[in-house]
């Protein structure tokens, strides 16, 4: 039950707004009438067990999948006819599940590619901002390595850094702690928090770790392709956690 009254006329226009979204894979109905919104500067977390359609939703936001019906807007602009690369240049940064580091390119080249999403084009700048290395010091010593040779945790940090290079307005993260050793999870969590503090970017996060989920302002819980609960994360009850987190 989406609490639609929570977006009263007084609240500012949401950065990302999704209304009545239905997505199919062939004939199987994956997303069912999904409504979701992310306010400016807010961190929103999407939870739900494996296979409920979280990744499908994010891919649809990025334009990798085409919805059958429904509406996605970014600051009021409908995204329907935009290709994924146009959406990236409109300010959506994507850290996909499985990280999708380009294996045959060096860490430096992977980072430089992140500049493609800058709205003003990459310009002449090919330099990697110092801020990236402050967030992820481990990357500095690995610039010449192939992306495919990095460990899972390093690849995850690279994926986040790469998305950051494009100065996004909305950062979309799909299970950034999946399959990563606990000490690195805390590092990644801290980095995301610092990114939000310093850049004011809005975040849409899919996550299974309760500790990380609690950092968000708002949560949506998904079941069988539909949103079944939502609210401030401070009110996240044990019952909801039991039901929707694979812990």
């Amino acid at each position: 039950m989406v609490d639609s009254t929570s977006i009263s006329p007084a609240t500012p226009q949401p950065l990302l707004d999704i209304a009545n979204l239905n997505v199919y894979y062939g004939e199987s109905h994956i997303l069912r009438s999904v409504d979701l919104s992310v306010g400016p500067g807010k961190m929103v977390c999407l939870i739900g067990r494996n296979g409920v359609g979280k990744t499908t939703l994010l891919k649809t936001i990025l334009g990798l999948l085409t919805p059958r019906t429904g509406m996605i807007t970014l600051e009021g602009t409908p995204l329907r006819r935009k290709t994924p690369d146009q959406r990236a240049r409109m300010g959506i940064g994507y850290v996909p599940q499985g990280r999708e580091i380009i294996p045959g390119l060096t860490v430096q080249e992977n980072l430089i590619l992140g500049l493609e999403a800058r709205p003003q084009g990459r310009g002449k700048s090919q330099t990697i901002p110092e801020q990236v290395f402050q967030l992820f010091p481990v990357l500095q010593s690995m610039l010449g390595r192939m992306g495919g040779d990095l460990s899972g945790g390093q690849q995850q940090q690279l994926a986040i850094a790469r998305a950051l290079m494009g100065s996004p307005r909305l950062l979309v993260l799909d299970e950034p702690t999946e399959g990563i050793q606990p000490s690195i999870i805390l590092e990644i969590e801290a980095a995301v928090r610092r990114i939000i503090e310093t850049t004011g970017v809005s975040v849409l996060l899919v996550e299974q770790h309760l500790h990380f989920v609690r950092q968000a302002d708002w949560y949506y819980a998904m079941q069988k392709g539909g949103i079944v609960a939502s609210g401030p994360t401070s009110e996240l009850s044990n019952q909801v956690i039991q039901e929707f987190l694979a812990v």
Partner: protein
Amino acid sequence: MLTSLFNSFFDGISIGSVLLLSALGLAVVFGLMGVINMAHGELMMLGAYTTFVVQNAFKPLGQPWFGAYIFVALIAAFLVTALLGLVLEKGVIRHLYGRPLETLLATWGVSLILQQFVRSVSWVMMLGLVVFCGFFFGAMTLLSRRSHFQRIRGWAITMLLPLSAGIAWAASSTLGQKYQLAVTKPWFGAQNVDVTAPGWLRGGIRLLGAYQMPYVRLFILSLTIICILGMYVFLQRSVWGLRIRAVTQNRSMSACLGIPTQRVDALTFALGSGLAGIAGCAVSLLGSVGPNTGQNYIVDTFMVVVVGGVGKLVGSIAAAMAIGIANYLIGANALSPLVAWFPPLANLLEFFANSSMAKVLVFALIVTFLQFRPAGMFPQKGRTVDA
């Protein structure tokens, strides 16, 4: 005996370099889009015809200038075929993305059109084409500025298509009646045409013993090396090269990073086509050129791409050289002295010792090789194009 082996090795390399030059464009396009462009051979053929045209334009200039025509021809062949490649990508291939079989069929259709085109192109036909394209696309461009274009698009096409075709037909037939044969005679016709190599490319240098390496072959070898190096530097050092490498390895993630994948496709296809044009220019130096010239190359170049493995320049290089040398060793029966002590094997090799039978054996070897290494000599690590 060693000399003869060495000579066949050198001949093999020079055949391999022609193969490589013609396969280079195909390999880059196949790596990026997973598309085999069946019209690649015809693009080569057009490059060869462009060379013929440039050569004829240079003939009246006399000696010192005529010797330089080949460089102008190389550039012209590149530009003509690259432009055509761009049109082909925007007009046909883009609309068939993700459907490799349809793409194969469509590009095969294009190859037939191009073959017939060089047979029958004349001033009248050219004028008709220009008038048609001018009217149709001009009107469409004007109309597309209007806000309600999407609604009237279907109507506009049904109205404009016969209209522009009619005007084009009227214009060309009036011209044809007025000037008769002067404008209706085909430019090239169905016969083969001959490109003469510039004077400084005739003859050759003596290597070992009586063996002569023709200058033309050396020229093609250096051209191949220059193209490979140029391609390598472009892919490794330039912004567009980085984009091409990224899209080749992971298309959807590259798009999500903001890389304009459609423009990357168009540029790569134009580049691959331009390389076909250069290859065609080189091939025209080796023998006469006809509308069917391209067909002789598409199978060989396709084999180079498949044997080399997708998305790796070094794979194409190794495969082209291996196929070239194998072809020559078998075709010229250069191995016979080595196996003379074992008559059955010697007889078998003797049986395959002509160019068409050599192709059969090489093809069989390739099929066997692919049974063991289906991804080619240098398979790409990690994801492939369609993953």
